[in-house]
Amino acid sequence: MTPFSYARAEDVAGAIALVGATPDTKYLGGGTNLVDLMRETIERPAALVDVTGLSREITVGADGGVVIGAGVTNTALAADRTIRAHYPMLSRAILAGASAQIRNVATVGGNLLQRTRCGYFYDDAARCNKRAPGAGCDAIDGFNRIHAILGASPSCVATHPSDMCVALAALDAQVRVAGPGGERTIALVDLHRLPGSTPERDTELQPGELIVSVALPALPFAAHSTYRKVRDRASYAFALVSVAAALETENGTIKEVRIALGGVAHKPWRAFKAEAALRGQVPSEANVRAAAELELADVAGLRDNGFKIELAKRAIVATLAELSGEQA
C-alpha cells in the first residue's frame, strides 16, 4: 500500500472542501473495495476523506418515496422494514452480495462506486485501459468468463460488480450528489457509463463530487419484485448474471414491468427494450422469452462468456414467471 493521509469529514461541505484541498484525494466509505485496491496498489490516493459518519438516515417521504443516506450500511438498508416491504428486490439484491461482515461496513455510496473485478484490472502486470488508459486490454482475449456481453467496447469488456445497483436501476433510483459547484441529481441508470474509448471513467461524477443520498420514488408495484442471482458458488461470489424485476398485471396483461440485469455490462443494465415489449402483453413464457431475445439481440460473447447470453434470457424468463406466478 502507498502511504496516504486520512481525514474524517464532519459534514458534506467539509468533505468537499477537504477533497478539493489535496490533489488525488478520494472519499472513503466502508473501504471494502477501495482499501483492497490500495493494498494491491491499483489505487494510490494521496489522501482519503472518510465520509462514513455522514448521512446515515433512511427517510420515508410523504409520497411513500424513500431517501437513503449515502452512509447507510448495506446491512441496515437490507434490513429496513420499509425497504423489505415496499422494495423487496433491493433488500434481496443486497443480501445476495458479499458476506455479512462486508455488508456491515459497506455503504450505499461506496457500493455505487465499486470498481470492476476484472483480473487484468487487478494485476498491474497486465494491460488494462481502465487502469492505464491506452495500454490495451488483455481481457478481450484472456479470461473473460465474468465479463460483459452488453455495451462493451474494443477498449474494455469489464462488468460492474454490484448487486444493489441492479435493483436501484430497476427502481428508477435518483442519485443526489454534491460538489464544488453545488448539488445535482443524476438518475442511477445514467450514473454509470459504458466504457467506450474512456473506460477509466466508471461514472459521470465530476472531480470532487460526493454522493450524498439515493432516492427511491414511490413505486407501489415494486412491492411485488424480486432479485435472482446466478453465480459459481452458493454465496460470496459475484454475479455471472442477475435479474432484478418487478411486475404488475391487470386483467391478465402486464401493466407495469421493470427489468434490470447485473453481471452483463459495464453498468447495471436496465432492460428498457424488454420492458417496452412486455407492457400490455400477457406475461406468458413465450412473450417474456421474446422480450428477452429482443433485449439481447445481436449480442456476441467473448471466449469464455458466451453462455451468459442464454443464461440472461433464461434468468429473465424464470424471474418473471416467478413473479407472475405469485400474482396469479
Binding site: M1, T2, P3, E40, T41, R117, G119, Y120, Y122, D123, A125, A126, D138, D141, G142, F143, R145, V230, R231, D232, R233, A234, S235, Y236, A237, L240, F307, E310, L311, R314, A315, V317, A318
Partner: protein
C-alpha cells in the same frame, strides 16, 4: 536427464527390484506388522473414543503461536517483488526509490544476494524438500512469471510492502513455453518416486478393441492452487553461522537439511521449529521465501519475519498441475474388465520432479485382464507444480471412477455392482496380497445408510420444481505409506509422567491429541500424564506430515521406543520386582505401571520402579522399523463416496444436497478428529468438483486469479450435511491397526459428484470444474 543419471537410476532400479521381490516373498513374521500391534486387541481403552483437541483452547484464544508470530529482538519485515514475465533476463533493476524510503533496511537482488547452492528438490535425496531445484536469486534469469526478483527488509511490514511496490524492473524477454497444447508435441514418459509409471500387463489396446463393451474417454482437470488458511511465513535469525527458523512446516527435519545444503552449512546448524501450522496439504515445504528471508537476514545481520500475501502464495508456492487423462475400459457382457487403460499427459517444469501421478489409484483398484498405465509429462515455463492433497489419486479417481460409471450406464448395471464384479483378490498389478481391504463392506453400509436404493437408474427422471436431482457414487482410495526415518525419544519421570519427543507435525489434523491418546494407552497412563512434543528439528526422527504417512511413522517409532523403555524399566526393576525375569514382549502398560500380560496381578508401578532404582527419569530413543510392510502387502485405504446433487434446469447451477463417505481406513483412533479430517477432505473435493480452477494465462504464464475472492473454494452454503461412517476394521499389519487419513477424503469426491450430475441430468461433464455453463 544425463546418461550417467539414467544409468545410475537403472542400476538403482535393478537393485530395488531384487530387494522388492525378496521383501514380497519373505515370511510375514519377518516383516514389520507381521505380528499385529498388541494395541489393536485393546477393546475398552482411550483409542477409539472421542477426544477433543488438546490445542483447541489455545487456538480459539489466539494463544497458539504460529510461524509469523514469534517475537524476536530487532526484527525486520520482508516483502517481495515478483517478475512479470515468464522467461528472460532482468535488463534493469532500479531499487533506488525503495532504498530511499524511511524504514527500509536493505533491498536484496541477485546482485547483492549471498551465494547460495541450488535447492535439493523433493525426491532426489531422503530429506530433500525443495519445491524446485533452481538457485534462488543468483543471477538475472527469470524462470517463471511471479519469480521473486527482490527482497525488501524494513522496520515495519507496511514500509516493506510499500518499498517493494516501488521496485522497477525491465526485462529482456525470451520466448517461453506456456501453452499446454504446444508443449504436448514434446512429451516424455514420466517417473514417480524413482520408478517409471508405464505399466503394461497383456495387450490392453487389443483387448479393448475386442471387448463387447467399452468406454474410451478423455477427462481433464485444471490447475489448483494451495490455499491453507495460514499463509506461508517464517520468522528466523542467524546466531553466528547457525540458523534458527520458526517455520510453517510439514517437514521440519527435511527443511533443516535442505536449507543446510543451500547455505553450505551442516544440518545440525539449522534449527527448525513449527509448533502450529494452519494447514499444509503438501504446500508447507521449502519454497523461495524461507531461503530468501534467511539470505536477507544474513545480509542485514538482523532477524527477519516473512509472511507471504495470498497473491505471494499463488506466485511462488506451487500447486497441483493440470492433467489430461484417457481412461478406456473393455468389458465382457457380465461386466468383467478385459482391459483397463489409464494414460495421459501432465504439465511440469524442467526444474522440479513432480509429474502428477494420476494412474496411482488404477494400479490396485480393479481386476482386469490387461492393463496399460502411463503418465507422460511436458515441460512448461511456469512455477514448479507440487504435491497437493492426494496427489495422483485426487484427480486420477475423477477420471477412473467417472469411466467406471460410464461403463455401468452403458451396461445398464448398478455402478456398485459393477465395482463388486471387478473386485480383485490380490493387487491386480503386483500380485501382492492386500493387508486389509473391505471396500465392498464400505459400499454396502454406505449404500444402505445413504438410501442408494432410491436412486433412479434412468438419468434425468427425478425433478423437484426447477431442480433435477441425482445420486452418484465413486470409490475413494489412497495408499498406506510409511517413509523411513521415524524415530522417537521417550522419557518417563519418577512422578509417572511420560513425554514423547518426535520431529512430527500438527497442522490441525489432531496429531498431538491422537498420539497422546495412543501413548497413554500403550503405557497405561491417563492422558494428563502424557505429553507429546513435536514440531522441532532437534527432536528425533525424519517424519514428514505428508502422504498420509505421519500416523504410521509416529506409530512405528513409538512402538520401538516403548519396547526400549520397557527393556530399560525391566532392567531397573531387577530381581526384587514381581516382573523379575520377564521380557519386554511379556509385559504391558496398565494403570500406571507394567504388568505381566497373562497375569495382571504381577505388576509394578512406574513410580515404584524408578524410586527403587533411585532414578529421576528414564529416557530412551529408538528408530522405527524399516517400512517393509508396504512392499510385502498391498496396503491401501478405501472409501465409498455417495453424493446427491441438484442441478437447476434454468441456470445449470449445481448444489450438492447430501454427501456420505463410508471409509475403510483401518482402526479409527479418535473419531472426533478423524471425522473432521474426512469432512475436510470431502469439502476440498467438492471444491475440486465444482469450482476450483487456477486461471493460468497461457499467453503470459501468469496466474490471473491470485485471491480467494476470485479463486473459488466452497463456502458454508456450498457444503451440505456430510455424513461420515467407517468399517473400523483394524489393518493387522499397520501400527495401531490404523491408516493415516489426511488425504483419502478428497479422493473419489469429484467423480461421485460428476456421476450424480449425470444421474440428475443425463449430461456427462468430463472436465473439471463442473461449472453451470457446462450444464445449461
Amino acid at each position: 536427464m544425463s546418461i550417467v543419471e539414467n544409468a545410475t537410476q537403472l542400476a538403482q532400479g535393478a537393485l530395488q527390484a531384487v530387494m522388492k521381490k525378496a521383501v514380497e516373498l519373505a515370511p510375514d513374521s519377518w516383516i514389520p506388522g507381521g505380528v499385529p500391534d498388541p494395541l489393536i486387541a485393546h477393546k475398552h481403552g482411550l483409542v477409539g473414543t472421542q477426544v477433543s483437541r488438546l490445542d483447541g483452547p489455545l487456538k480459539v484464544t489466539g494463544a497458539a503461536r504460529f510461524a509469523a508470530e514469534f517475537p524476536l529482538e530487532d526484527l525486520v519485515y520482508a516483502a517481495l517483488a515478483y517478475s512479470t514475465i515468464p522467461k528472460g533476463r532482468i535488463a534493469t533493476l532500479d531499487v533506488a526509490a525503495a532504498e530511499a524510503l524511511p524504514g527500509v533496511v536493505l533491498v536484496m537482488t541477485y546482485k547483492t544476494a549471498p551465494r547460495l547452492n541450488p535447492t535439493p528438490v523433493m525426491m532426489t535425496a531422503p530429506k530433500a524438500v525443495g519445491g524446485d531445484r533452481l538457485p534462488v536469486m543468483q543471477d538475472d534469469r527469470i524462470h517463471w512469471n511471479g519469480e521473486p526478483v527482490a527482497v525488501v527488509l524494513a522496520q515495519t511490514q507496511e514500509q516493506a510492502d510499500h518499498a517493494a511496490s516501488l521496485i522497477a524492473v525491465t526485462y529482456d524477454t525470451e520466448i517461453a513455453m506456456t501453452r499446454f497444447e504446444d508443449a504436448k508435441a514434446d512429451r516424455k514418459n514420466a517417473s514417480f518416486m524413482g520408478a517409471p509409471m508405464l505399466l503394461e500387463i497383456g495387450d490392453a489396446e487389443t483387448a479393448l478393441a475386442a471387448a463387447p463393451h467399452s468406454v474410451d474417454r478423455t477427462y481433464r482437470t485444471p490447475r489448483h492452487n494451495h490455499n491453507p488458511i495460514e499463509l506461508h511465513g517464517a520468522t528466523l535469525v542467524w546466531q553466528g553461522d547457525d540458523l534458527i527458523l520458526h517455520d510453517a512446516s510439514q517437514c521440519v527435519a527435511h527443511v533443516a537439511w535442505t536449507l543446510a545444503q543451500v547455505f553450505g552449512i551442516d544440518e545440525a546448524q539449522v534449527h527448525v521449529t513449527s509448533p502450529y501450522v494452519g494447514g499444509g496439504f503438501g504446500s508447507k515445504t521449502l519454497w523461495n521465501h524461507q531461503i530468501l528471508a534467511a539470505a536477507a537476514a544474513k545480509l542485514a545481520g538482523r532477524p527477519v519475519r516473512i509472511m507471504l500475501s495470498r497473491e505471494g502464495v499463488y506466485r511462488m508456492v506451487g500447486g497441483r498441475t493440470l492433467t489430461e487423462q484417457r481412461v478406456a475400459i473393455g468389458a465382457q457382457a457380465d461386466g468383467h474388465f478385459d482391459a483397463l487403460i489409464h494414460t495421459g499427459v501432465v504439465a511440469m517444469t524442467s526444474h522440479n520432479n513432480m509429474p502428477e501421478p494420476f494412474i496411482l489409484p488404477t494400479r490396485s483398484a480393479y481386476a482386469a485382464g490387461s492393463f496399460l498405465l502411463n503418465v507422460e509429462a511436458v515441460e512448461l515455463d511456469m512455477l514448479a507444480n507440487t504435491f497437493m492433497r492426494a496427489p495422483g489419486e485426487s484427480v486420477g479417481t475423477f477420471a477412473l471412477e467417472s469411466a467406471v460409471d460410464e461403463l455401468a450406464a452403458q451396461l445398464g448395471v448398478d455402478p456398485i455392482a459393477l465395482r463388486e464384479t471387478n473386485e480383485p483378490e490380490t493387487n491386480p498389478t503386483t500380485g501382492t496380497p492386500f493387508s486389509s481391504r473391505n471396500i465392498v463392506a464400505a459400499y454396502r453400509s454406505g449404500a444402505e445408510r445413504f438410501g442408494w436404493d432410491k436412486r433412479s437408474a434412468t438419468p434425468g427422471t427425478r425433478r423437484e420444481g426447477e431442480w433435477l436431482v441425482g445420486m452418484g457414487c465413486a470409490t475413494a482410495t489412497y495408499p498406506y505409506y510409511r517413509m523411513p526415518g521415524g524415530a522417537a525419544r521417550l522419557t518417563l519421570t519418577k512422578d509417572g509422567h511420560a513425554t514423547v519427543e518426535i520431529a512430527a507435525h500438527e497442522m490441525g489434523m489432531g496429531t498431538a491429541t491422537t498420539h497422546t491418546m495412543v501413548l497413554a494407552e500403550r503405557l497405561g497412563l491417563p492422558m494428563d500424564k502424557v505429553t507429546f512434543l513435536y514440531g522441532d528439528s532437534k527432536m528425533p526422527g525424519t517424519v514428514m506430515a505428508g502422504g498420509s504417512q505421519q500416523t504410521a511413522s509416529i506409530g512405528a517409532a513409538v512402538i520401538a521406543a516403548q519396547t526400549a523403555l520397557f527393556t530399560e524399566l525391566l532392567k531397573l526393576a531387577g530381581n526384587d520386582s514381581p516382573l523379575a525375569g520377564l521380557k519386554p514382549s511379556e509385559v504391558g502398560g496398565y494403570e500406571g505401571g507394567l504388568c505381566k500380560l497373562d497375569d495382571p496381578s504381577a505388576c509394578e508401578s512406574y513410580v515404584s520402579i524408578l524410586s527403587r532404582a533411585q532414578r529421576d527419569a528414564v529416557s530412551v530413543e529408538a528408530a522405527g522399523s524399516a517400512p517393509l510392510e508396504t512392499q510385502h502387502w498391498s496396503m491401501h485405504s478405501y472409501g465409498a463416496m455417495f453424493a446427491e446433487v441438484r442441478v437447476n434446469t434454468v441456470t445449470g447451477e449445481v448444489r450438492v444436497s447430501r454427501f456420505l463417505g463410508s471409509f475403510d481406513c483401518g482402526k479409527i483412533l479418535n473419531p472426533k478428529t478423524a471425522t473432521s479430517q474426512f469432512r475436510g477432505g470431502i469439502i476440498m473435493g467438492l471444491g475440486m468438483a465444482l469450482m476450483e480452477e487456477t486461471q493460468f494465462d497461457e499467453r503470459t504464464g501468469r496466474v490471473m486469479n491470485p485471491s480467494l475472492a476470485e479463486y473459488h473454494v466452497p463456502v458454508h452454503m456450498d457444503v451440505p450435511e456430510i455424513e461420515v461412517i467407517w468399517t473400523d476394521i483394524a489393518d493387522p499389519h499397520a501400527p495401531m491397526g490404523a491408516h493415516g487419513i489426511g488425504e483419502i477424503g478428497i479422493t473419489g469426491v469429484a467423480a461421485a459428484v460428476a456421476n450424480a450430475v449425470f444421474n440428475a441430468t443425463g449430461k456427462r461433464v468430463r472436465d473439471l470444474p463442473i461449472t453451470l455453463d457446462k450444464l445449461m
